[in-house]
């Protein structure tokens, strides 16, 4: 099982949204991390065949992205998930199942199974227009899995879910990643941190890092600092460095967690880096990394 991207590029006039991206996905969960405008959604749309690359190729097990068999292996939850307000949840899943070529009897069975998994069983016959944002999102997750896809692409899947639903969904994704390729794009770093075996970091249309959580984080080892300073010193430090965390302590002191190539002040000491630190390191305003 191999999803291969070979020098995939997408240009809009002079702007390059994705620049010669080459990567081979194998079974497992991949987390795609990047700021707004980094090119994540463009890349995902190209992988899903709804946006043609300017150049480069995308194939799954040597089947080109434009082929019906490629789409047969695909499950996709777009960032802005569209639905038919007057359809019930069950109708909607049956329609998507028909689009995915799932035979009618199996489609019904699978739809009920997924509705149960995303806790929408009781609301199956209610019209989608009566659903809350979270319910719609869960329905979106269910539709993406109707054809038991070998490639599952999820763009911001946990947006609108409450913490309990998010954890439930994360666990579900972890299990799914055992026998398929799952590509998860999100701003919620902890989602990726918990379930992604491989993390891809995108910036300005290029993949700047890829690897396991520890491999990725090693890039900022020794660059995360913590210190407790007076208000006035803290203000100076905040102006100079990207601050990850700021907490008011007692007696007018301020606790700071920040990123810096070198020791920012005498009181600072090195802290254990996390994925959130890495995100800030690459995507903080004015970062030139």
């Amino acid at each position: 099982m191999e999803l291969e991207l070979d020098r995939v590029t997408k240009q809009y006039g002079n702007k390059t949204a994705c620049d010669r991206i080459s990567i081979t996905f194998q079974k497992g969960v991949y987390g795609l991390l990047g700021a707004n405008g980094a090119g994540k959604t463009t890349l995902i749309r190209m992988i899903c065949g709804v946006l043609a690359p300017t150049s480069g190729t995308i194939s799954f097990n040597k089947i080109d992205v434009s082929h019906e068999d490629y789409r047969d292996a695909l499950g996709y939850l777009p960032q802005e998930f569209g639905y038919y307000p007057e359809f019930s949840a069950l109708d909607f899943l049956l329609y998507i199942a028909a689009l995915k070529g799932v035979p009618k009897p199996q489609a019904k069975e699978k739809a009920w199974e997924l509705l149960k998994q995303v806790s929408l069983e009781k609301d199956a016959r209610k019209r989608i227009k009566t659903f809350s944002g979270g319910m719609k999102q869960r329905l979106g997750i269910a539709q993406s899995m109707l054809n038991n896809p070998q490639i599952l692409i999820l763009d911001e899947p946990t947006a609108g879910l409450d913490p309990k639903e998010r954890i439930h969904f994360r666990n579900m994704i972890s299990c799914l990643g055992e026998d398929r390729i799952v590509l998860l794009s999100t701003h919620i770093v902890s989602d990726i941190e918990h379930i992604a075996g491989t993390i891809l970091v995108m910036k300005d249309g290029s993949l700047i890092h890829q690897g396991t959580r520890n491999e990725i984080i090693s890039a900022i080892d020794g660059k995360v600092w913590e210190c407790t300073l007076s208000q006035s010193d803290a203000i100076d430090i905040c102006k100079k460095y990207p601050v990850i965390n700021l907490r008011q302590e007692s007696a007018g002191m301020v606790f700071l967690r920040l990123i810096s190539e070198e020791k920012p002040c005498a009181e600072a000491f090195i802290a254990q880096a996390t994925l959130e630190d890495l995100y800030l390191y690459y995507f903080s305003e004015g970062s030139e990394q």
Binding site: C48, G49, V50, L74, Y76, Y84, A98, G101
Partner: protein, 405 residues
């Protein structure tokens, strides 16, 4: 075909579940019924006062016309009509006279058929002229009709071959005409253009969201990334669009037709078209003309469906599609193009709303290509079919390669 019908079912569901579409469908049926029967509402006024209800007038006139049905419209019947009308004394409103109501009114349908031949561009043949009609003139009725038609044909800018073919068609018309009561059919001929506009508007409303709604709702991403989203689904959408067009068209056309016959009477199916339009060169009966109009109208509806689907695939909102279609449907009805400019005249007849009118389908001006003369009732559906095929393949291509940016 696996899964195809399932997808078609869902496409129908998407369209028919919308309240605005349900409302439009119900409204179109109500408007059809209203339009067919509207002339029966209210009263028949003579000299400013209600004389009888319109319904009673229709029943009375129908009975009068039926009593003369089957008689040849020859000089004998013409002179009988002249004699009846000659009884009417001079009056500002001759319909208010007792003589008209009791003696001449039974012949009023025949009077109208005769008068239309004697009318000239410069002078309207009125009741007083009719009262003076001589036997010789009555005997020359068909010659005058023929000369008038021939003159009209010769004045057009059609090729000699086309002119000959139109004259040859006219020569096939059996004379004298056999008179018959035909109001059931003629009411349909009068209404079909307006009803065609209603139907085409309903088609535009129903099909406007076919593709554009997927763009506005964001479901295009789900569709185009699914197995059948770039082939079978589009085929299902096209099938849905055309089948719905045909169903709506058939319902509208047959409802109006049978309602018209049921209300006004089904007599006159075999009567010649010339009882409605005395200068028509087409050797057709009322029933044949009705069938021909229905067939051509159905093709016009298919073309409307194809145009709507193309706009729907191109535009981002169903509202934009409806606005453009409304302009396309209504604008041509507001003007006209002279027969003297054959190219523009013939192009003008190709608008969907023009295609559903009897005057377009049985126009004297023929379509000519490379020495071939094609009758409008053949050319119009052929054009609609060809354009529909081209536009449909374009909309298929546009949706298939739609990019989510």
């Amino acid at each position: 075909m696996r899964g195809f019908w399932n997808l078609v079912g869902f496409e129908y569901k998407k369209i028919l579940c919308k309240r605005s579409i349900q409302f439009t469908l119900i409204l179109s049926v109500i408007l059809t019924v209203f339009n067919v029967s509207v002339t029966l509402f209210g009263d028949y006024y003579v000299d400013g006062t209600p004389y009888e209800s319109n319904y009673a007038a229709m029943v009375k006139d129908r009975a009068y016309a039926r009593s003369l049905s089957g008689r040849p419209l020859d000089s004998g019947l013409i002179m009988e009509t002249v004699r009846a009308y000659a009884q009417i004394p001079p009056s500002d409103v001759y319909q208010s006279t007792q003589e008209y109501q009791t003696i001449a009114r039974p012949y009023s349908d025949i009077y109208e058929v005769i008068r239309s031949v004697f009318n000239t561009a410069s002078k309207r043949f009125n009741m007083e002229d009719f009262q003076m009609l001589t036997k010789t003139e009555a005997e020359g009725y068909y010659n005058i009709r023929h000369e008038k038609l021939a003159q009209h044909i010769l004045q057009t800018r059609m090729s000699d071959k086309a002119k000959e073919q139109v004259m040859a068609m006219d020569a096939q018309i059996k004379t004298p005409f056999s008179f018959s009561y035909t109001d059931g059919y003629t009411r349909y001929f009068i209404l079909i253009n307006t009803l065609g506009l209603f139907c085409e508007f309903v088609i535009a409303v129903c099909l406007a969201p076919l593709y554009s709604r997927e763009y506005t709702s964001g479901t295009d991403q789900l569709i185009l990334s699914s197995k059948y989203g770039k082939n079978k689904l589009i085929a299902a959408k096209i099938f849905t669009g055309f089948s719905m067009t045909l169903i709506l068209g058939l319902i509208q056309l047959t409802l109006a037709f049978f309602l018209s016959l049921a209300i006004f009477g089904a007599d006159g199916g075999n009567a010649p078209l010339q009882l409605f339009n005395s200068l028509s060169p087409y050797p057709l009966s009322m029933a044949q003309t009705s069938l021909m109009l229905m067939v051509v109208s159905l093709f016009a509806f298919l073309m409307t469906g194809a145009i709507t689907m193309l706009l729907s695939a191109n535009l981002k909102t169903p509202f934009g599609v409806i606005v453009l279609m409304s302009v396309l449907l209504i604008a041509p009805m507001l003007g006209s193009v002279s027969e003297q400019n054959i190219l523009f005249h013939n192009l003008y007849q190709l608008f969907p709303t023009q295609m559903t009118s009897l005057s377009s389908v049985t126009a004297i001006i023929q379509y000519e290509f490379g020495g071939f003369v094609i009758h409008p009732y053949i050319f119009l559906p052929l054009f609609a079919l060809t354009l529909s095929v081209i536009l449909t393949s374009l909309s298929y291509h546009i949706f298939k390669y739609h990019q989510i940016v």
